[in-house]
Amino acid sequence: MSTGIAPVSARRRRGDAIARGLIALLTAVALVPLVLVVFYLLYKGLPAVTADLFTSDPTGNFLGNAGGIKSAILGTLEMVALASLMAIPLGIGVAVWLVEFGKKSRLASVVRYFIDVMTGVPSIVFGLFIYITLVLTGALGSGFAAWKGSAALALLMLPVVTRSAEVVLLLVPNGLRESALALGAPRWRVAVQVVLPTALPGLVTGSLLAVARAMGETAPLIFTAQATLGTSFRLDERMNSLPIQIFNDIQNPNPVIVERAWASALTLVTLVLIITLGARLAARRSRFAT
């Protein structure tokens, strides 16, 4: 019976060091694109940021003054706000049903399955769905319209909101529900006055992440809201948006317009980051979510 522990052989130690080094190196490689994207956004985008950029609409002129992106910023905010009004209540509603009523029933697992399916559907397919049902055929007025763009974005947000809300609602301790029920509260009051307020920070986080995702989407808007030049507050007409503006500007041969694309991209990423940051702050206030 030996008393000492044999030292790890040099070959095995070298293997360990190489593998660890490789893993660390690949992790560093993963962060390279992030650094490069941020660097070029600032390097190319910042010089093109002027007061004019935010206060004027694109002119559509190929030569001369290209104009700013006011209509695109406002359009994105309007359409995403409307999409949130559609998707967040619906998504949280479905999550409440799943957690408080459906639980482990077969129907609930079918609903869960479909929500999972929706998460995987490419955003361009959601755009096509709205295009073939709302834009081509005109029960609600044919043609491109901002609210149809919002509908496409809402479809995209719905599964994100529902899945994150379900996770958060499941974290609400059952003791809270049981205490409320024992005090004689009906189920609906337990859901509305106990479960939802307890889960609120988590719900806000999930919803904001969905908003951030919708804000950067280009593909669903191409066939639904399309684009226009001027600032518009009418939801039944075409509306400009930041992603579409960038997409169109990239394909423009005029370098001034490409510069505007960089500035618009910087604006878009900043908006998305602000919302993502808001989501993280809300998550920090949560008592249950990690």
Binding site: A6, V8, R12, G15, D16, A19, R20, I23, L26, T27, V29, A30, L31, P33, L34, L36, V37, Y40, L90, G93, V94, V96, W97, F101, G102, L107, V111, F114, I115, V117, T119, G120, V121, P122, S123, I124, V125, L128, I132, T133, P186, R187, W188, G216, E217, T218, A219, I222, F223, P243, I246, F247, I250, V258, W262, A265, V269, V272, T276, R280
Partner: protein, 331 residues
């Protein structure tokens, strides 16, 4: 007090009156109605998509659409083989480049990084997902394509003995598209791998250490076998993303409806064709239906990939076939 005294008019005093129970039922069935309406909506969308793409299927047949390599809208020829192949090549490249890096980040964050670095690293990897695809496209067009071209040409010349490598490099090409897709799927593959790796029981890891394993040997013997199913699922979810990604790809793939001979050739994908040719197609029913058919193929493809992926992830998270659980640490 006896139970009988609680009863008034046939029901317990503790029971709510039918009127007071109404809000409960309203909420229960109202919310169920919303959930079912969403499902119904999806089914309706699918049905309309199928019926609207019939024109092109009637003309060329489903197989003719999928496997004929002749995309020529001017001649009313809609054989989408080049698009299908382009989607497969770019997604495969994305997996080959992205998945090893994603697994490495997950392993580094869960097993190797100092405790204080874990959270910041997680946030940084997730930030990659916060960048909109149109911004990746912009970056790809104006930064990646011009700056990588010399390196690609060198690689193509030096390694021309490899299959699918060699010849002149096109600016926009399959490889650039695959590279950008790899960056875009990295966060989700990494996040799911991380989740699965964190479910590996510490018993298994400690057992490996107790047997004298180095940290890497512990990862190889205890962590990876246990997490394999979940990581596979995560990679497939990434594949689903890569297949459906549109805007970044349409900007960097060149949009040439041909099957390239090597990875530095121009190509096209199913998603890209929809975004790129939608404007011209909207007034021509056959053309339009061929783009809707491309969308339908995309939809079905992602459904299959995601269905399989979910099964893997679920198996990975609660999974642990007894064999894997018992066998992993001593393997």
């Amino acid at each position: 007090m006896e139970a009988g005294t609680l009863r008034a008019g046939g029901r317990s005093q503790l029971e709510r009156s039918p009127a007071a129970r109404l809000p409960d039922r309203l909420m229960r069935y109202g919310l169920l109605g919303i959930a079912l309406a969403v499902l119904l909506l999806l089914v309706v969308f699918f049905a309309v998509l199928v019926s609207d793409s019939q024109d092109v299927f009637a003309k060329q047949g489903v197989f003719g659409f999928l496997f004929e390599n002749d995309w020529n809208p001017a001649q009313a020829q809609f054989g989408a083989a080049a698009l299908v192949v382009g989607t497969l090549i770019t997604s495969a490249l994305a997996l080959v480049i992205g998945v090893p890096i994603a697994i490495a980040t997950a392993l580094f964050i869960t097993e190797l990084a100092p405790r204080r670095a874990k959270y910041p690293l997680t946030v940084l990897v997730e930030l990659l997902a916060a960048v909109p695809s149109v911004v990746y496209g912009l970056w790809g067009v104006f930064i990646l394509i011009p700056n990588l071209k010399p390196a690609e040409q060198w690689f193509a010349d030096t390694f021309s003995f490899l299959p699918f490598v060699g010849g002149p490099v096109a600016g926009p090409n399959y490889f650039i598209a695959g590279l950008i897709l790899a960056i875009m799927i990295l966060p989700i593959v990494s996040a799911i791998s991380r989740e699965v790796i964190s479910t590996v029981p510490s018993d298994h890891k400690e057992a490996a250490f107790a047997l004298g394993a180095t940290r890497w040997e512990m990862i190889r013997m205890a962590v990876l076998p246990y997490a394999r199913a979940g990581i596979t699922g995560g990679a497939m979810l990434g594949l689903g993303r890569a297949i459906g990604e549109t805007i970044a790809v349409v900007l960097v793939i060149g949009n040439a409806p041909t099957i390239g001979k090597q990875i530095f050739d121009q190509g096209y994908t199913l998603a890209a064709v929809i975004a790129n040719e939608f404007g011209e197609a909207s007034s021509n029913p056959l053309y339009r239906s061929s783009l809707l058919a491309a969308g339908l193929v995309l939809f079905v493809l992602t459904l299959i990939v995601n269905g399989v992926a979910r099964a893997f992830v679920v198996r990975g998270e609660r999974g642990k076939t007894p064999k894997a659980a018992a066998g992993a640490p001593v393997a």
